[in-house]
Point group: C2
Chain length 233, copies 2
């Protein structure tokens, strides 16, 4: 047994685990600056190349942030930072998994909308109304999509659960939604979606969680069913 050489997996993988451990153990706090790549590599006894790969990996995971010329920092480690990669899943998913993703979104979105109905502030409610109005005032698909996203984002934020909001954000990532909704909207579903959005807004105004949950579930469910039918057909 050589104490100095545990030797499990690649050195890069070990470096990733070490840095993660430093964070969980509190050695590295959110927002804190790390030692330089060169120092870190020396500390773990590996080359700078390998250490850079480890840092890059943690960067794409939203754990670290590298600022050119300044240094490497731990992110705030908030839900939004860490769940940014969730969008990758949505973007790389095709076929039946798109339905599964929408099913997950239906469950979470309906819950978030119900929570929002009970907690939303007048300011947030007004913002939701603005996006609803803007959505109905234009025919530009791009603009509609943007306000649609903002509409649901504002509601998710009002639910008071940042983690849930971050997951929903990933499930509604721009490329994902654009792919699915292109076909959906082309079939003249504008009127239906407008009606559904109005129903959600009405439930929020009435502060009726049950109605809000039902309206949101129906809204996502419509798209879900359409997609399911298109795949099996």
């Amino acid at each position: 047994m050589d104490e100095t050489a545990p030797q499990k997996g690649t050195v890069t993988q070990r470096a990733i685990e070490r840095i993660k451990a430093m964070i969980t153990e509190g050695v590295l706090e959110p927002g804190q600056r790390l030692p330089t790549e060169r120092d870190l590599a020396a500390q773990l006894g590996i080359s700078r190349s390998s250490m850079r790969e480890a840092i890059r990996a943690l960067t794409v995971l939203g754990v670290l942030e590298a600022r050119h010329g300044s240094g490497i920092y731990v992110t705030r480690l908030e839900a939004g930072d860490l769940l940014e990669t969730f969008g990758v899943v949505a973007d790389l998913s095709r076929g039946p998994r798109l339905v599964e993703l929408l099913q997950v979104r239906r469950v979470l979105e309906s819950t978030a909308t119900a929570l929002a109905a009970a907690r939303i502030t007048p300011e947030q409610l007004a913002e939701v109304g603005n996006h609803l109005a803007a959505m109905n005032a234009t025919d530009d698909p791009e603009e509609i999509l943007a306000h649609d996203l903002a509409f649901h984002r504002e509601i998710a934020a009002a639910a008071g659960n940042g983690t849930m909001a971050a997951i929903l954000e990933g499930l509604s990532s721009r490329t994902f939604r654009a792919r699915v909704w292109r076909g959906y909207q082309e079939e003249g579903a504008f009127a239906r979606t407008r009606r559904e959005h109005a129903a959600i807004h009405r439930a929020l105004v009435a502060r009726d969680p049950e109605a809000a949950r039902a309206a949101a579930a129906a809204h996502v469910g419509e798209v879900e069913e359409w997609l399911r039918a298109r795949l099996t057909g």
Copy 2:
């Protein structure tokens, strides 16, 4: 305008996007082997070092898989592959976000259990029963935790939504659960959890989705409330 030099972001970041695009465009199929690191670097006109960082990043995201001596391959791109990183979020979360994560889990777990009640096969149901019995037959916390995880994993799998199961898997990652449950179980909550697990199993046997949903929600909710109280206290 120089067509050959778009120059946005780091070359590594661009390489990551290029490879992701190749997959979404169908140039690279799941399971397929990629060109060698050296060839890929040459194709994109970057150094092997930068290309390696890009590959490493996509590897930790569960998109690519590098086999030493053999080559680089696209994973099957199934939910489990891509959502493995979800466990990182759970492991790095502390304080209030642990409650948020449990809240998300409560929503998804209750839905998954309800779905399972309607679809579970006799074989799967028997397996769930085995884990329940094994969980009650030992006093070793490690073993209890293992069977507890398997119990819920089996139910999530029976729900028929692989994406939902993968997310729940991340929300129940070993280190995460161990951290939260250590304190919970130490307060003599064994009896309560056994009762709750039995209730879930009973609802599955009765094929009663509503009862299953309620039992699962109550089960996760108990831990959620305990954690919330411990944080505010």
